[in-house]
Symmetry: C2
Subunit: 448 residues, 2 copies
């Protein structure tokens, strides 16, 4: 893999300003580490495509390519906004979520990632204000950063983005501020947080969007991957001005780059114009295969297999966290999606800890990757449970706990000496954990 590290060299002076401000993705950079067999990766965001039945893939590709007329379409340039038959399939998928739309309301993109880039390209001038959850999807931060916005992050809790903090930020920004462009949210099983936005907060967000005059960009890659609890109504259902982003990456396969945008006509016309220059059109082959996958195969049964499998893996991760992680750690308990968000004491720097973790045979994504400043969130991390087996997940968490534990030793000594103040409850938890750990350590030594 080509390294994304910028070398200052003979063309250094030719760089556009935006490039000097962009950062590489830790997830992408770790991609090669993820394929080393000795390392268990909790860093990616990959679905387990081995769960896809070979027969379904065969059916979808055969039906896309065997007929002469269909094959000619699958091999030819297509319309910039995508083939109408595939956009119709997207409408059918959206109807399941409660969103009513027609093919004209849909624009197909090369994964939802391209949609993020195109929206940013359409709306962001340097210095414009974008609101987002903090932490948020790092791919969104990368897409936006090319257009040099001022991204303001709003903290979340177990009910998603905190509306009190959003409102306070909006008051600072002011009503009708022309620099305020949109608010980017992942309401379901947020990446990297794993949390879901509660219904009353969804309503409040939309009220605020009308009051302060900003677009709402709803990114929903994981919405169909719910392991507990009931369906939540998408923002798009509550307000038709919302720009909704979907993708087949997590319900079918990310190797076919197919995402979509359901948006008002005035937004789509801009995006369509910008997409012409970006890539002319998406892959006609991918569009044809996706269409036949969702038309000619038992994809809903396969989706249930995804859900069942990921639920077991999530449970394995949460159980391992309970068992192995130190009492100072806090983590989210997602009802769906791919990720758990772990918060450690301020003292711990997960970015610098990554080397030790790699040595111990486990990867994760340092929390600061998910903040626009690259600094906030250094004491947190994102861990993924969708890709590895439950056994591997348990082992990875055990390894990771060991690495964290080592880092916490000094911290604990300070607390014991009274040099760092903590509440009595935490102190008691740490004490009991230390006693337990010492016993286990002694037992392990005896076993040698």
């Amino acid at each position: 893999m080509q390294t994304a590290h910028i070398v200052f060299d003979e063309i250094g002076g030719k760089n556009a300003t935006r490039v000097t401000k962009m950062r590489s993705s830790k997830v992408r950079d770790l991609f090669s580490a993820a394929v080393r067999p000795d390392i268990i990766s909790l860093s990616g965001g990959m679905p387990d495509v081995s769960l896809l039945p070979a027969a379904s893939i065969r059916t979808a590709t055969r039906n896309a390519l065997d007929d002469d007329a269909e094959r000619a379409v699958a091999l030819q340039y297509g319309a910039t906004n995508g083939h109408v038959a595939t956009r119709q399939v997207v409408c059918d998928l959206m109807r399941d979520l409660g969103v009513r739309c027609k093919p004209d309301d849909v624009l197909l993109t090369s994964g939802a990632q391209e949609a993020l880039d195109l929206i940013a390209k359409c709306f962001i001038d340097p210095g414009d204000i974008i609101l987002a959850e903090g932490p948020t999807y790092l791919g969104a931060l990368q897409a936006f950063s090319a257009y040099e916005p001022d991204v303001r992050c709003i903290d979340f809790d177990d009910d998603g983005m905190r509306m009190d903090l959003l409102e306070a930020e909006l008051e600072r920004i002011g009503k009708g501020n022309p620099r305020l462009k949109f608010c980017y949210v992942i309401p379901n099983f947020q990446n990297p947080g794993g949390v879901t936005m509660a219904p009353e907060r969804r309503k409040r967000l939309l009220e605020l969007s009308r009051e302060y005059g900003f677009l709402v960009l709803e990114d929903d890659p994981y919405g169909r991957l719910r392991y507990d609890g009931g369906h939540m109504i998408p923002l798009k259902v509550l307000d038709d001005r919302v720009v909704y982003l979907g993708t087949v990456s997590k319900v079918f396969a990310p190797g076919l780059r197919l995402g979509w945008m359901v948006a008002p006509a005035d937004v789509l016309s801009r995006v369509n114009l910008v997409k012409q220059g970006a890539d002319l059109c998406g892959s006609s082959l991918d569009q044809a295969v996706v269409r036949h996958y969702f038309t000619d195969t038992p994809w809903e049964r396969t989706l249930q297999t995804f859900i069942k499998t990921y639920r077991v893996r999530r449970d394995a991760m949460l159980a391992a966290l309970e068992e192995h992680f130190p009492p100072e750690a806090r983590w989210t308990r997602p009802e769906g999606g791919f990720f758990v968000w772990v918060t450690l004491p301020e003292y711990v720097d997960t970015d610098s800890m990554l080397g030790a973790a790699l040595e111990a045979g486990v990867t994760y994504v340092p929390g600061n990757s998910f903040f626009p400043d690259g600094v906030t969130g250094r004491n947190s991390m994102r861990i993924n449970f969708s890709y590895e087996s439950p056994e591997n997940i348990a082992e990875a968490i055990r390894r990771l706990a060991g690495v964290i534990d080592e880092r916490l030793e000094l911290y604990r000594a300070f607390i014991k000496a009274g040099a760092i103040k903590v509440d009595p409850e935490t102190r008691a938890a740490i004490e009991s954990y230390r006693e337990r750990a010492e016993k286990t350590g002694a037992a392990a030594e005896e076993g040698e």
Copy 2:
């Protein structure tokens, strides 16, 4: 198809500045007209994918998807710069052209169009200077325009970009000007010009690039589609600092979005970084199918079929132009590629003439689409010969000649009256054409 026309509406104030400066593509807008059965399209740039053997497509897709391990790769996210095995295939294709490179020198893109966007994103700040042939590929102008450059167009003749004009422009820009970023050229069978850059001009361009300090961006979608004459050495062979863009769109199929960039490491590292935010990675499925197409099928024989077929169509177009077009028209005689460039008297506005052409059942692309100001080139047009049958091409040219002839009537009357001065040769040609046309017209009336 979603119209790309910008509606001024409630989100008008939210637009990024760049969007207000972008223009829609006439070619893309005409896409829907092209599929109306009564219209013969000379406006597109589509290869004839019906020439691809069904068996080759079956072989390539089966080999990409039947094996469990390969299928898992084809359905999963890939590295941002593309799968190494497919990059190796690109190296093999490049070797045929005389370019020696390794997979590390190659980055795969979603068609060469994405490469244009990424390069522009990496290098262009608003106001930066880009050099290009004028007219040039309108998709490049669209890609660049999103980053608000100052594009300076250099005229071409039958030997490609005129180096005397380039040198004069460079003198105005000045040596070591930090605003001068790159020169974009299509040396083989230029789009829309159809002309090929002569070997001595290629050398001179590279000398000037070193003297004035700019990158050379060599776009070569048509290089393998040569119908007469011998292979020309690519700029990339003459200077390793050149950024070379290739694509499978014209030698295999554009429905699989697969282009590539062969470039120095410092350029690739920037592009890789920018591509992460743009789309994470390209289609793994497309990459797998392309790899197997160029490994497991008789693709060189298929390429010969393309070449033979397009040669016949080009000849049909040139013959029809000779037969039907008025003497005031000038056109290029391409040795390869897809396009002929027609220049009419200044008097004729091909942009406003398009409506009449559509009524007569033929489409073309008005020449002003290929200039950044959208004004220059209004008396010219691009016509395509790759997609329609020779019979349809002849008929389309006949229809188009009728439309042009109508427009020229007034012009001829002015010349006859001496109100417009032309050289005696042109005047004689027009006179003899008129006599001939009157005879043919009389004969046609008698035949009714």
